[in-house]
């Protein structure tokens, strides 16, 4: 198993700030926008983006939630293991809001498909956008593309992209791991 660094801490930091700025460009003061981190790995990116918006760009009313999509996935009973759920924490309605889904890696697009269904349990959003740190090109199973992307990478199917966060993995970095 070999691994290669795709992004180091400095590069991750620059990209996070760029993504935050792109969000500001579109959503101004975020008065009608909610950020939704997708469980399990998208929540670290969402928390980080929200922190940059609040602290570095002094935007006060950032609404941030975490959405778990386990019960909406299309592979229930298709794998060996029981799908384990994570916590959903959305204490606001998304009715008529501009929703931004935030996930670390966009691969087949199936998680996003599940999230599009899951979010409807919380109301009918005005629009939904997708922000992703890594966009794996040529691997989509569904017609889903990100609105904001950190880095686009060409990865073949037996390779894995692993995003690490200081909060969870002791460093900010992105690795390409060959299985």
């Amino acid at each position: 198993m070999s691994q290669k660094v795709l992004l180091n801490e400095k590069e991750v930091n620059i990209i996070l700030h760029r993504l935050a700025c792109q969000l500001i460009e579109k959503h101004n003061d975020f008065s009608n926008t909610v950020l939704i981190g997708l469980q399990p790995r998208g929540i670290f990116l969402a928390d980080r983006i929200a922190k940059i918006l609040r602290e570095d760009y002094k935007i006060k009313n950032i609404h941030l939630g975490h959405l778990d999509i386990t019960f909406f996935r299309d592979d229930f009973r298709r794998g060996e293991k029981t799908l384990e759920a994570n916590t959903t924490n959305i204490n606001f309605l998304v009715e008529d809001k501009n929703v931004v889904f935030i996930d670390d890696v966009l691969y087949t697009g199936r998680s996003i498909r599940a999230a599009l269904t899951a979010i409807q349990s919380f109301g009918r959003p005005n629009e939904i956008e997708l922000l992703t740190l890594i966009d794996r090109r040529f691997s989509r199973h569904l017609p889903i593309q990100p609105n904001y992307r950190g880095r686009q990478v060409d990865v073949i199917n037996n390779e894995k992209v692993k995003v690490n966060w200081k909060e969870n993995d002791n460093e900010d970095s992105v690795y390409l791991i060959e299985k």
């Binding site: 386990t70 019960f71 229930f76 293991k81 029981t82 349990s121 919380f122």
Partner: protein
């Protein structure tokens, strides 16, 4: 650990501590789901579940049906009073006929102890026991423990007394197994005639004085006197039973501490528990009912995920 150790839920006796933990953690997620504006998830849309009730039930049947529907399963309801069982069909034949209509899971209540175990050996479907005679009622015990965990922060080390008709109660036996598995201290309390002989062999304390029992416990689970299962008189009169084993506000207020009151329902108001106690702040009876749906969703979800495609 992300999988149950069993393929059926026949009784608490067959579960281990990790299974209970997994069911509770999954139920936490479903409790959040059923408090959403839209309370439904699509997980079980390719699963069909038959609810076979060979004995009357309101709460359990509704709770199971709601849990199944909130998971998007297809649901078949069957009650023996309107069926061919009355014409002499055997249990296995009845169930196999239902299963041949491509049913994946069976939720069954039956008057005979062991009916679920028997069925699980003879048919190809995941079986959930929704009460078998005076034997077990596992989902009730799970939701009772879950409610204690929610109210008191945990079950380990808590003192729980089960009061009333222990002899005819499946809730009592399942509760004893579930509570002990999680490290709680369990006592049973009731008239001697309604306490099974050798119940102490299960490792529970036995008490016939209600005041002493209530002063000892953190939680009192009040059971109904099951008149329909009594072929002889076990106590002189309902009035005398209430005087000795009924909980009223006066008794509750005279205790050294504030205890939690539970009841699996249906309540006989004024017999085992008075209305002011049932509706008091100390009672978590309605929370139990709400938790019942989340617990049953968790059990069905975890068992369904083990059904191979």
């Amino acid at each position: 650990m992300s999988e149950l150790s069993v393929n059926h839920l026949l009784g608490i006796k067959y579960l281990n501590k990790q299974d209970i933990q997994l069911i509770f953690e999954t139920a936490d997620h479903f409790k959040e789901v059923i408090n959403r504006p839209i309370k439904k998830v699509p997980s079980l849309r390719d699963i069909t579940i038959a609810n076979l009730f060979f004995e009357n039930s309101t709460r359990t049947k509704l709770s199971f049906e709601l849990a199944e529907k909130r998971l998007s399963a297809d649901v078949l309801n069957f009650s023996s009073s309107q069926s061919s069982v009355k014409k002499g069909e055997t249990l296995i034949d009845t169930v196999n006929n239902i299963l041949s209509m491509k049913v994946d899971m069976v939720v069954m209540r039956h008057p005979n102890p062991g009916a679920g175990v028997f069925l699980s050996k003879h048919v190809k479907a995941s079986i959930i026991n929704a009460g078998d005679g005076a034997h077990e009622h596992p989902t009730q015990a799970l939701l009772d423990s879950y409610s204690i965990r929610e109210k008191l922060g945990g079950v380990q080390g808590k003192k729980v007394v089960i009061v009333g008709d222990i002899l005819h109660s499946r809730v009592a036996l399942s509760n004893i197994f579930a509570l002990q598995l999680q490290g709680a201290d369990v006592m049973v309390c009731g008239p001697k005639t309604l306490l099974p002989k050798y119940i102490d062999k299960l490792g529970v304390k036995v008490e016939t004085n209600l005041r002493k029992a209530l002063n000892w416990c953190d939680v009192a689970n009040m059971l109904r006197v099951q008149n329909e299962r009594m072929d002889i008189s076990y106590f002189p009169s309902t009035r005398e039973y209430t005087q000795q084993f009924g909980v009223n506000k006066e008794l509750l207020d005279s205790l050294d501490k504030e205890i939690t009151i539970m009841h699996p329902g249906p309540i006989n108001r004024g017999v085992e528990i008075t209305s002011d106690v049932a509706d008091s702040k100390q009672s978590i009876i309605l929370e139990q009912v709400q938790n019942g749906v989340a617990i049953r969703m968790a059990v069905i979800y975890l068992l369904a995920s083990k059904i191979k495609q």
